[in-house]
Amino acid sequence: MTSMPSPDSPPAALAGANRLARLAAVGVLVLAVGTGFAYAGGWFSPRKLTPARFIDTFEQINGVHPGFRRNHAKGVCVGGTFESNGQGTRLSKAVVFQPGKVPVVGRFALAGGMPYAADAVQTVRSMALRFSLPNGEEWRTGMNSIPVFAVNTPEAFREQLLAMAPDPKTGKPDPAKVKAFFTRHPESARAIQMIKAQPIAAGFDNSTFNGLNAFKLVDATGKSTAVRWSMIPMQPFAPSAAQPPQNDPNFLFDALVARVKQQPLQWRLVLTIGEPGDSTSDATIAWPADRERVDVGMLTINQIESEETSPVRAINFDPLVLPNGITGSDDPLLSARSAAYSQSFTRRIGEPKSPSAVTSSEMGE
């Protein structure tokens, strides 16, 4: 500004034009900043997949069920402890791997956005956990009862949701749309084959839950190791009944409630160590079966309650809430899950609540 010539006295018309040009310059500069902000906010890209549009897709397919999670809507709250055996400390400096016991709050749920859907054997089951560490840190994780994830990007996830949505005429997915989806996404076609090949366990209690996405463990020297984790049940595997009970829409949850009330249920937390060349960015690809597995401790679940009275409604099991010593990998689904969970959480948390399908009275209380 100091470099500008000091104003002298030009002819009136010239001064007027000059002033107008300068006024225009102010307008252009201000408009540029405003436009840049609007562009950054995505107002010029109405088709870009944002967290809001991602969650809109769930609402479009399932309808809006106020107060419920937009996916994995039907669930129960569980509580217990995780006892680390110290084996994880050679891989990660995270406090959770130091020998000792920490409290855990969790949620078992069924995939899908319908909070009152009847339990079905084929529905993907999930286990979400929050470990509260003594130094105030937390570890939150959400795992599924499938060996690999069906998609490897948020865009493919949304495409899959739309392709598998029930046709209003038949009540079933349109086979042409499903076929088109798998043609466009051969990685998903391969993953589905693996998912279908896995025998389905009878209940939540003897299901294996896999973290699916890769993470990185960081040790005290800063060395980082790619891992995937699983919860392996101590309850012996039994295949699901050929003919599940017809008269109990909550048969999976009710069985879980009964089991927990009988005796504590346990899972071993097992880390699978990735080797160079194992994909950390693609959750549809399984790592070779001979990868080293490290048993790092035991999860014990000894409490169960309806989520309507429990703390889990107010917890967002964001998979990137991690203690120091565990970080996300380059898997694009991780940040997308974090963003989408946050969007779902923010929407549901301010909404009026309705009772859960699995009510307090079903708990025998």
């Binding site: 500004m1 100091t2 500008m4 000091s6 104003p7 002033r19 300068r22 006024l23 310059a25 102010v26 500069l29 201000v30 900043v33 405003g34 840049g36 902000f37 950054a40 906010g41 995505g42 870009k48 997949l49 944002t50 967290p51 809001a52 991602f54 130094n135 105030g136 840190e137 937390e138 948020p154 409604r313 107010a314 917890i315 967002n316 964001d318 990137l320 809430v321 203690p323 120091n324 996300g328 694009p332 991780l334 940040s335 997308a336 974090s338 963003a339 989408a340 946050s342 959480f345 923010t346 948390i349 301010g350």
Partner: protein, 196 residues
């Protein structure tokens, strides 16, 4: 009326340094905020910057408030009408309030949602509010509203300064320049301050 020599008065060096540091941080923060809420892939990385940056801004605002008490403001230039002075003063105060409130609302909303408030590595802040779902919902909305209000107030401030500097040509921006500026009034020929 104020004498034209006032125009050569700059803000104290500490005020100017803090001003431009916060311009950079607050604008970065507003842009990160508006990008991250619309981003699936960049969300986590941006939120991880957003949290500690917000706390840095909160600390800087407090430093700036103390600095403002220690260093009196230079008088307004004569080219500003009483209405403009009122607008400048009130928008300035509003920006201070917003720069202070936004990080606090952010911190409070994470507390109410019972998220760990991670700054960097194991470094995290304690919650400042009890866990409360409805409180989170309200504060989350408030955070967005206040952020847009801050952006619009900033835009008004920017427009006014650009108008004065480019159209009225009274050297208003020079009062906040990081370097020493010479007055731009009729007496500019006689008034030359030495740099440094």
């Amino acid at each position: 009326m104020t004498n034209p020599m006032d125009n050569r008065q700059q803000f104290a060096w500490s005020s100017r340094a803090l001003h431009w540091l916060m311009v950079a941080l607050v604008l970065t923060m507003l842009f990160i905020g508006v990008v991250m809420v619309g981003s699936l892939l960049g969300y986590h990385r941006l939120v991880s910057i957003h949290r500690p940056l917000g706390i840095i801004i909160l600390v800087l605002v407090l430093i700036r408030l103390v600095n403002r008490q220690l260093n009196p403001l230079p008088p307004f230039p004569t080219t500003m009408s009483p209405m403009e002075r009122l607008a400048a003063t009130s928008s300035e105060r509003l920006m201070y309030v917003l720069m202070f409130a936004l990080p606090l609302v952010g911190w409070g909303m994470l507390s109410a949602a019972s998220y760990p408030i991670v700054l960097y590595g194991p470094l995290h802040l304690p919650p400042i509010l009890p866990q409360n779902a409805l409180l989170y919902a309200g504060l989350r909305k408030l955070h967005t509203i206040l952020a847009f209000l801050l952006f619009f107030t900033f835009m008004a401030h920017l427009s006014a300064v650009l108008f004065h500097t480019l159209v009225v040509r009274d050297g208003l921006l020079g009062r906040m320049a990081l370097w020493k500026t010479r007055p731009r009034d009729a007496d500019s020929a006689s008034g030359s301050s030495t740099p440094g």
